[in-house]
């Protein structure tokens, strides 16, 4: 009986080949990536002049995309570490989804920062001539650290699953089998090995929380260490982290729904998971809303001269449509959906997740660009194109290509490895059954 259940779980959760839908999805993403790559080649050749950025709006959607990626990657620490350490077990099937989102997002965050550089071929200067005083160096250090920790956090729980998959030699095919053997042939399911991995995962879960807080706090400092209106805030670290947890959880909602329907995982990613994740998102959205009120109401109350144009531009001026769109789609509407039990059903929660992620993307754009277009001294003596910013097709293509690339990494990961941890699910079911038996 128990063995049967175990067999069933393994069969359900083993990675599957792309179906028709999957193939179309992958091809679509590959096309988007190639367009982005082509656009980047043009940018390499002609320089950053192909972008809409100019001296005032010197950072554009590349940087807002970077902030978005860093933000969404924080979810890895939330689901795997925070919930794990607080002894919440329902999130177990979601841990690997969260971790792979974190790893792919942080990878593309690094790539997009290179895309934004005027001299990408001098990237090595950061290591040759790095200045410890610069928050960019802090970011480089902390992002590479977070990347390694996330990889480890992905790898340790994967070991028992690798042993299971090595058992399906014929199903795997030559290459995948080689990969699995390379990664995990030494795993023998011995208690001594389990003891080490359990300890390692616990250490990682504790370590990743301050590191995750650091990556997004340092990212917020790229803005907050300047004098600019809208950035000159002591609140920025907390503001960014709360927003990051929100967008990451929204991303997990989307991924949960897609994997559940596509891989037929209804038994593993259940309505209960959507219900609880939905509640988490409501809590995080409220938290982020709180920080937004804090971030905008206080300066608006004072209306310092340097802040005035910036704030009015957001509230009622040229950025008002995007501003209110972002506030309502990233926070208010998702709260209104997810606050109701019906709204936490998979489909509705999926929609809410999409709203959160889309709204958050635009929110990042609003954090970066309007501030730059409100300098202390007037914008003067420059060509008219310098006074506005709208991304060119190259920028859109590269930004969309990078998002597609991140999705592609997640897709291929789910093709190669079980997206819901097999071993841990078996343990959970067993312990649940034991509880019911008792």
């Amino acid at each position: 009986m128990e063995n049967l259940a175990k067999q069933k779980i393994i069969e359900d959760l083993l990675p599957q080949k792309f179906g028709k839908q999957g193939t179309i999805w992958v091809i679509g993403l590959l096309v988007l990536c190639s367009i982005g790559f082509y656009a980047y080649c043009r940018q390499l050749y002609y320089g950053l002049a192909v972008t809409g950025m100019r001296d005032y709006a010197s950072w554009g959607i590349y940087i807002s995309n970077f902030v978005f990626f860093v933000a969404i990657s924080l979810v890895g620490s939330l689901i795997t570490a925070v919930l794990r350490l607080s002894d919440v077990h329902w999130s177990t099937p979601l841990t690997r989804i969260a971790e792979i989102i974190a790893v792919s997002a942080i990878t593309f965050a690094s790539l997009i920062i290179i895309v934004d550089m005027g001299r990408p071929e001098r990237f090595y200067n950061l290591f040759l001539y790095g200045r410890l005083q610069s928050p960019i160096i802090w970011d480089v250090i902390v992002i590479s650290t977070y990347f390694i920790i996330s990889l480890l956090l992905l790898y340790f729980p994967l070991l028992p699953d690798l042993k299971i998959m090595i058992g399906f030699k014929e199903r795997n095919g030559k290459w995948l089998q080689k990969l699995y053997v390379f990664l995990g042939s030494f795993w023998k399911n011995t208690p001594a090995q389990f003891k080490i991995t359990d300890k390692a995962i616990n250490i990682l879960a504790i370590t990743i929380i301050p590191v995750a807080f650091s990556i997004h706090t340092v990212t917020s400092w790229l803005f907050a260490t300047t004098y600019r209106p809208g950035w000159d805030s002591t609140n920025f670290g907390a503001y960014f982290i709360s927003g990051a947890f929100l967008v990451g959880s929204g991303g997990v909602l989307i991924a949960m729904y897609v994997f559940r329907t596509h891989y037929k995982l209804e038994k593993y990613i259940t309505d209960m998971h959507f219900d609880r994740m939905g509640k988490v998102v409501v809590l995080l959205a409220l938290l982020y809303l709180y920080f937004n009120v804090n971030e905008f109401l206080v300066p608006a109350f004072k209306m310092k001269k340097s802040e005035e144009h910036h704030l009015l531009g957001l509230f009622t001026g040229e950025y008002a449509p995007i501003f209110w769109f972002a506030i309502s789609t990233a926070m208010i509407i998702p709260i209104l959906i997810l606050i109701f039990k019906k709204g936490r059903k998979p489909k509705a929660a999926f929609v809410a997740g999409i709203l959160v992620v889309v709204g958050s993307w635009f929110k990042r754009y609003l954090i970066v660009t309007p501030t730059l277009l409100h300098p202390f001294l007037p914008m003067y003596d420059v060509p008219a194109s310098y006074k506005h910013y709208f991304p060119t097709w190259e920028e859109w293509a590269i930004a969309i290509g990078s998002l597609a690339g991140a999705l592609l990494v997640i897709t291929f990961f789910a093709r190669i490895f079980p997206i819901v941890p097999i071993h841990e699910t078996i343990i959970e079911t067993e312990s649940n059954e034991n509880e019911t038996h008792l």
Partner: protein, 304 residues
């Protein structure tokens, strides 16, 4: 030597030994000393005709500056000129926005046509207050926020107070542009489009030419000219004498025709610096636009 076609002007005034009072014939080699303690004899002698009609030999190092400026290493460019602290005073009461300064700067540094290092802003602090023109270049802050954030030492503060950019080091992250509250940094989105001769000049941070695509640029206070005891291009070009340049440690600034004691000028005319509250400690001082020499006429009319 005499066939020198160097672009440098000669200022030979530092040639003489102390104690030589008149032009009476002092046939001993009077050129072995210089008032400038920094100058050391090069050992390379140049034959010249003296005012008295004698053939004399002068150490090349005492021809000031040396006819062929020695190439300065990147390391020296990063440290700066010892014993100097450059300072600029901009007299707002004299500015008419003729933009000769800007044109001279653009020309000398071969900037991209869209780019100006020096901008002349139409300023009006409040509705009822007087409008005036404010030439603004890099403030060469003593606590520069741009330098703080540079990840690779591509922009740096020198001992002579100048903030420079090494365009061969710059990775083009543009963090410094976000950090600068004076909007004085520009980015070379495109190559500056210079002709073959300038494009092939070996890059030097002090000359800031040629500007390189994908790197940040800004006003450099013309340290290459300061080494030759010349005013920056903007100061030299201004017909109204708006720009005073000098050395804070010498307590003196000049616009080429008038020379003032810096401390007295700032005290007498109530000089100030921009955005003092930010704590950046600029090296550029402004004299308030009182008793203006010209009425304010803005052809562009729209003040942002």
């Amino acid at each position: 030597m005499s066939q020198n076609n160097s672009r440098r002007d000669f200022l030979l005034s530092g040639l003489v030994a102390s104690g030589v009072v008149t032009g009476c014939a002092t046939k001993s080699n009077v050129f072995e000393q210089s008032f400038d303690e920094q100058v050391k004899p090069s050992g390379k002698m140049v034959k010249l005709l003296s005012v008295d009609g004698e053939v004399i030999e002068v150490d090349e190092a005492y021809l000031k500056p040396i006819p062929e400026m020695p190439t300065i290493t990147n390391e020296e460019e990063r440290i700066g000129i010892p014993g100097r602290k450059f300072v600029m005073v901009i007299d707002l009461s004299r500015c008419k926005s003729l933009k000769k300064c800007q044109a001279a700067c653009d020309y000398a540094h071969h900037l991209h046509p869209d780019i100006n290092w020096l901008k002349i802003y139409p300023m009006q602090d409040a509705e009822q207050t007087a409008p005036y023109w404010q030439p603004t270049n890099c403030m060469h802050c003593d606590e520069p926020p741009c330098v703080k954030v540079c990840p690779v030492d591509a922009t740096f503060k020198r001992q002579d107070g100048i903030v420079l950019i090494d365009s061969e080091r710059c990775v083009g992250c543009r963090f410094c542009m976000a950090a600068c509250p004076y909007s004085s940094r520009i980015f070379n989105w495109e190559a500056p489009g210079v002709s073959g001769k300038i494009a092939s000049v070996p890059y030097s941070c002090e000359k800031s030419i040629p500007q390189l695509k994908g790197t940040v640029g800004k006003c450099d206070f013309c340290p290459d000219r300061a080494r030759e005891n010349k005013l920056p291009h903007c100061a030299e070009a201004c017909p109204n004498g708006v720009f005073f340049f000098g050395d804070l440690l010498e307590d003196s600034v000049t616009n080429g025709t008038e020379t003032y004691r810096f401390s007295e000028l700032i005290k007498d005319k109530s000089g100030y610096r921009l955005m003092e509250d930010l704590g950046t400690k600029p090296s550029v001082y402004y004299l308030p636009p009182v008793n203006r020499n010209f009425p304010f006429e803005n052809k562009d009319a729209v003040v942002a």
